[in-house]
Symmetry: C2
Subunit: 266 residues, 2 copies
Amino acid sequence: MRNEKQYYEQEGTESEFLDWYKSQDLQNYEKPSVTIDNVIFAYQPHLRKLQMLLIKRAAHPFQGKYALPGGFINPNEEAKEAAKRETFEETSIRIEQETQMWQIGAFSTPFRDPRGWTISIAHTTFLYPFVESKASDDAFKAEWVTIVPAALDEEEPCFVNQAGETIHLNDDLAFDHADIIRTTFKRIKEALAYNVDITQVLGPSFTSRQVQELFYVFDSKFDKHYSLSNIVKIYVTRLHLLEKVGQVTIKKQSAGRPKMLLSYKK
Amino acid sequence: MRNEKQYYEQEGTESEFLDWYKSQDLQNYEKPSVTIDNVIFAYQPHLRKLQMLLIKRAAHPFQGKYALPGGFINPNEEAKEAAKRETFEETSIRIEQETQMWQIGAFSTPFRDPRGWTISIAHTTFLYPFVESKASDDAFKAEWVTIVPAALDEEEPCFVNQAGETIHLNDDLAFDHADIIRTTFKRIKEALAYNVDITQVLGPSFTSRQVQELFYVFDSKFDKHYSLSNIVKIYVTRLHLLEKVGQVTIKKQSAGRPKMLLSYKK
DNA sequence: GAAATAGTGTCTGTAAGACAGTATGTC
DNA sequence: GACATACTGTCTTACAGACACTATTTC
């Protein structure tokens, strides 16, 4: 038997090896369930606020807590594709090909799921346009929640659901989804110095004030005193990550000079 | 049956649910194998070069190619722990608790492993002190290879093994390990503006020239003309990521003024 | 002393951020 | 015209990077 193993591993051809390997039924060691989770951001145009999609769990485990959309990955499906598919299945929200998605990383803390050994690959999605979600299952209702920016760097962001209740990361999230959300916010904040993919939630064009308010969700330095002209200087003139695409043409927007419109570049 | 499901999911307690869930044998869907891979860097003190650990595969698949150390994750083992364990098992190199390790991310391209559905969680390790590796298996020989920095930003780094042969990312790597290595280099380069964990490979203290040569491996801007004084200015004075810890005391180092010693902070 | 190496201080160009002033809208 | 809003240009401060100069060593 050792000779057989050595023959196929080292002396035969690769296709001989693979035929032999698959005939061996080496599948008897334990494997984890692998899931994906998706931290989805979208800009609610009427409230003019950034929102995040959470699912309220009516069923065990973590009954009554909020969770991220997600689910099991299919055989030979890329993690990003699984995230798109599961998001559609759970919330009827379709993530188009051109939508920006990042992988945040794999979360594998032991016993993170009480049902058994499960590893999750977390993603984040910058969705546009904003769409209401339709829950496919009464037990798991998807809900857009408004993000309340962290006032100071010490504090954490929190969320307000459609009933006006506050959702705290420490108390109200299922599994280790609070960790996943914290890591996602940190990653987006760190990237703002050279990457503005998050502006895609604002749609094809947007104003510098919208950018400022969006960035403020992730980094308190972009507060109401932060100069809009500097956003243009940094992201349009220097980094070329945004570009000017004209002005607001329809009047009656509000008092004041017409807003310059920016757009995400490339 | 629907009523039973609904009872345990929504009406019973969580522990009732979990007992029921585990009795259901819902394990009949297919699961992937989950592996970890580890991009390990260490500073070879005699050559004064940064090296990376690769394993030459004598067996199929990818016979004759180089691969990263790695292997299967154990049930309820954190990915980082699995990376440490597998590194020890394959190369007899022990990664201590305090050694810096980053997770790079999950790689899930379909059919990335010809043996079957496999997802890998890639890590990178900044090892100190440098140790020679002992291969546990004749079929997979671990080898420290020297990193040849990319001359221009357009080019890729390549590697030189102990026999003096050049290893190219495009031709000589098994699985999708070239992708993993590229992503790792990119991640370290982007982090250099605010994170110098990589300096841990240099040990408890090191000179500014060592830092410059180390950073040059990841970012061509740190070339031989890059001013050493600016490294001190940026990382010691402004960012406080490194600190001065005295001078080289033993003479007979080389001609010239005694070198200032720096160390990784925190 | 010559050569080699490294640290110090200064200079310059650029960029971030603040802000005063100006332009353009509504009511 | 009063007021609201947002763009423009300038000023200040800070810092990255370059470089000339000085310090300390070996041979």
